[in-house]
Subunit: 464 residues, 2 copies
C-alpha cells in the first residue's frame, strides 16, 4: 500500500530541506541498519530535518503520498526499530541535538531527541542532578531512541526506566500536527495518558521532537562488588533474596561464565580472575548519600550471600576499578557479537522466577541444539539471552530457531513475564507478539496505531 | 443516543444477577453521587456483580442495547467520576473485595478493585511491604477508584502516584472481552502501554477487575514537623528550596491558615497552637530505614528554613502526635465541606512556580469576589484550591465562577501545569479540558475512547 519514491517526491524533499536531503550511497547505507543482528535494508532517501515544522512538512507530505517514514536516532537499537523495512524515507533526528534548558528550580530538563544519553547525564550531573536510565550504549545512543524503546539499563532496578522520567513530549503526528502530550508536572490526572502511550511506541505513533524529563538529586557515593558463584541458578536465586532482605541495590547484574570470559578476552582485560569453577557472577552496586548506610547495606548483602556457595567477593577499591567492572558489564553485548552470529532475546520475568527461566533456556537449548550466553539486569528480572549460531546450519538457524524461541517466550509468559524488558519489539520480536497478547489486545493496539497514523506511514512493519 | 432501561432490560439483569440487581430507592440514592460538591443523579438500576464474567455479560448486553454503565467504587471521588450522568446502570465493584495474593518473593500484590486502599496497605505492611499511594480518603476509598483516577496523596512526593505501582491489569472491555494489559514485570517494552492508558481513564475505557501492584520495603522510621510561616507565598517558596538542597521528604504539605483553623475547629482538636500571625504551615515528613540519616535530613531542612521567617517549629514527639498532625491534614477537605458550599480545583504546577500560582489564585479571587482556602501536596506542586461560596449569590456562583476558574486554569497551564494532579477530570473539570489540550490532542483522546468503547456506554459524559 505504501509507494516508492518518485522523482517529484525527491524534488519536494530537496526543495524543503536543501542539502539536508541525502541520496548518496554512504548515507543510505548508514541508515540501512541498527545494531540488530546483521539486517540491512536501504532507505530511498535520508532526511535530516532541523525543526519540528520541517518534520511536520515531511510527514504531511508522506501521509498524503503514502510514503514510508522510518525515524532514526543513533541506530544502536537491538530490535530493528530503525531499519527502513519499506524503504522510503529514513528520518534522522541527529540535528535535534540541543539540551534546551536545565531547570534547577524544578529538577527538570527539556531536551531534543538527538542528544546522546550520556551527554545529557553529564550535563545535569554538573548541576548535582541525576537522570538515571543508562542503557549499555549510553555513550552513543540518543535520548529520543531511549524514549522510543523505553530503555532501561543497570540503574533501572532502583531508579526505574525511561518512562518513569518522562513528564511531557512534543510530538509531530503522522498527519503533520504538532502536539504536547501532557504537562511539566510530577503528577497528572488530566485525560488519557498520551505521554506514556508515546513512550515505548518505537516511532510508530509520532515523532518526538522535545522531551521534558524529571531529574533527581545525584547520589554522592556508591559501592560495588563482584560475586562469583559456582552455580548459575544459585546466583539467580540470590537475587530475589537480596530484595527480600529489604535492600534495594542500585545495580544487580547477572553474568554467566561465558559472558564474562568472552568480554574479558574481547577487552583484553585480565584484571578479573575468573576461576575454573565459576559458573556465574553477580555485580552488585549500592548508592546513596551516606557512606555508612552503604557499608551497612553491603554487610546485609554479605549476610544474604553467606547462605549461598560463593567464591571470594571482590570489592572495588577505587573509581578506576569500578569503571573497569562496569566497562566489562557494558561490553558483554559487543563481545558476544564479535564472537559469533547470534540472536538476542530481552526476556523479563518476576525476579524470583529467574532460576526457572534460566533452567528453561538451557533445557530448550539442549532440545534444539543451541548454546546461549545469558546476562542482564537480574534485579528487575530482565535476562538477555544471546543465542549463539556457532556451528548451527543456516537451515536450523532460520527454520528451527524461531520454533525454539517461541517455546522459550511461551515459558516466559507462563512465568508472568513478557517478550521485552527494554529493547522493544521492533522487527525481530514482532512474530512473537501473539504470545504476550491475545487477539483482542493486539487488535486494540492496531486500532490505536490507526488513530495516530491512519495511512500506516510511520515506521511500518514494526511492533504490531 | 443512549437508551433508558426497559422492563426487558431489567429482567435480563435480574436473570443474570438475581438479588445482586437493585431497584430500590436506597441503593439508587446511594449510587447517585460521590463526594463531589452536591451533585446527585439517580441510576436506573444498581448492579453488584461478583465476577469478571458477570461484568462481561453486563457490558456486552449494555453495548448491544446502548445502555449507559457508570462504574462505581467507594464513591469518594472529587471530580464526579462515579455520578451516573446518563442514568442507566450503576455498576458497583464492591463485591470485588479480595486481596488475591501477596507475593513476598517478588514484592507484588494481586488485588481486586473493591478492596479499601488502607486495608491493602495494612495487609502488605504485615509482610514488611509498602504500597505508598495514600489519598486522604484511604480509609474508605477503593484501590480500583485509585487506579481510575490515578490517585496521589502525601507520599507521592517521594514515592510517586498510583500509576507508578501498577504493573498489570485485568480489564473487561465495553464489548465484553476480558484482557490483561501487560505482564507482572518491573520493566516492559512490549507493545503499546495499555496499562498506563487504563490507569487514570476514569472508567471510560474498561472496567478493571484485577490489579497487579509493585510493592517496596516498608520504611521503618519517620520524623514529622509542622512549620508556621508568617507569609503564605514564602511558605510556598521554601518548598522548592528544600528539594534544591538535595532532600526528598516523604511528605511536604502546605496548609493556608483557614485550612488549619477550620480543621482544628471541625475536629475540635486544639492541641495545635495557631498564632494570630501564622499565614500558612508546612507539614514536613522524612522517612527511611536509618534514624541518624533522618535526623540529618531534618537538620538540613532546618538550615533551609532558617532563610525564611518562620515561627517555632513543632516536632512530633510521639506516634500519637504524628497521627494527630496527619489527621488534621487529612481532614481539611471534610472541614471545608462542612463549612460552606465550595468548589475544589486540583491544580498542579512545577513546584517552583507555587508562589506564583498562589498569587494568581488570590488575585483572581479578588477580581471575582470569592474567597479560597488553599492546601495540598506542595512538594509535587499539587495545590488544592477550595473556592468558598460563602455569601456569593447563586447567579454569581453558577455564571461568573466558571469564568474565574477558566482564568485560573489558563494561568496554571501558562506556568507549565495542568488541571488535575490526582482527582481526575470526571464531570466537573471536563468543561476546561480545552485549556490543557488543543483540539488535536482532544481529538486523539476521543478516537482512543471510540476504539475501546465504540457505542460510548462506559461512564458517558466524563473526561472528554
Amino acid at each position: 500500500m505504501l509507494n516508492k519514491l518518485t522523482s517529484s517526491d525527491i524534488a519536494f524533499f530537496q526543495g524543503l530541506l536543501g542539502t539536508n536531503a541525502f541520496l548518496d550511497a554512504e548515507n543510505k547505507h548508514k541508515y540501512s541498519h541498527d545494531e540488530t543482528e546483521d539486517i540491512t535494508i536501504l532507505p530511498e532517501i535520508v532526511l535530516k530535518p532541523q525543526s519540528p515544522q520541517e518534520i511536520a512538512s515531511i510527514l504531511s507530505y508522506c501521509n498524503n503520498h503514502k510514503i514510508a517514514v522510518t525515524p532514526s536516532g543513533a541506530r544502536t537499537g537491538l530490535s530493528g526499530g530503525a531499519i527502513p523495512l519499506h524503504g522510503g524515507v529514513a528520518l534522522s533526528l541527529e540535528k535535534f541535538n540541543k539540551i534546551i534548558s536545565i531547570d534547577e528550580n524544578n529538577h527538570q530538563v527539556t531536551v531534543e531527541p538527538g542528544v546522546i544519553t550520556q551527554v545529557l547525564q553529564d550535563a545535569v550531573k554538573e548541576k548535582g542532578l541525576f537522570y538515571p536510565p543508562d542503557p549499555a550504549s549510553r555513550g552513543s545512543c540518543f535520548i529520543g531512541g531511549n524514549i522510543a524503546e523505553n530503555s532501561g539499563g543497570p540503574k533501572a532496578v532502583k531508579y526505574g526506566v525511561t518512562s518513569d522520567y518522562v513528564l511531557n513530549l512534543e510530538v509531530v503526528l503522522a498527519t503533520g500536527e504538532i502536539i504536547w502530550t501532557g504537562a511539566n508536572v510530577l503528577k497528572n490526572a488530566t485525560g488519557y495518558n498520551l505521554t506514556q502511550l508515546i513512550v515505548g511506541s518505537e516511532g510508530t505513533l509520532g515523532i518526538v521532537t522535545k522531551i521534558v524529563l524529571k531529574l533527581i538529586p545525584h547520589p554522592t557515593h556508591n559501592l560495588l562488588m563482584l560475586v562469583p558463584f559456582y552455580n548459575a541458578e544459585s546466583a539467580c536465586e540470590a537475587v530475589a533474596e537480596i530484595f527480600k532482605a529489604g535492600i534495594t541495590p542500585s545495580g544487580l547484574e547477572f553474568m554467566e561464565r561465558d559472558a564474562l570470559t568472552w568480554t574479558r578476552d574481547f577487552l583484553k582485560d585480565d584484571s578479573i580472575v575468573i576461576g575454573d569453577n565459576h559458573a556465574a557472577h553477580l555485580l552488585i552496586e549500592v548508592d546513596g548519600f551516606n557512606p555508612d548506610v552503604l557499608m551497612d547495606d553491603c554487610t546485609r548483602i554479605m549476610d544474604v550471600l553467606s547462605n549461598f556457595e560463593t567464591d571470594e567477593i571482590l570489592f572495588a577499591e577505587s573509581e578506576a576499578q569500578k569503571d573497569a567492572l562496569w566497562r566489562l558489564r557494558r561490553s558483554v553485548g559487543e563481545a558476544v557479537k564479535s564472537n559469533s552470529i547470534y540472536k538476542e532475546e530481552d526476556t523479563v520475568v518476576p525476579r524470583y522466577t529467574l532460576p526457572q527461566l534460566l533452567h528453561h533456556v538451557k533445557r530448550i537449548g539442549e532440545k534444539y541444539g543451541f548454546n546461549s550466553v545469558c546476562y542482564g539486569h537480574a534485579g528487575d528480572g530482565n535476562l538477555h539471552i544471546n543465542i549463539i549460531k556457532g556451528d548451527l546450519t543456516d537451515d536450523v538457524w532460520e527454520n528451527e530457531l524461531p520454533v525454539a524461541i517461541r517455546e522459550l517466550f511461551t515459558q516466559v509468559v507462563k512465568l508472568g513475564g513478557t517478550l521485552s524488558g527494554e529493547h522493544g519489539i521492533g522487527l525481530v520480536q514482532k512474530p512473537y507478539m501473539d504470545i504476550a497478547f491475545d487477539e483482542k489486545g493486539l487488535s486494540l493496539m492496531k486500532s490505536i496505531k490507526n488513530v495516530f497514523d491512519p495511512n500506516g506511514i510511520l515506521n511500518p512493519g514494526k511492533v504490531i
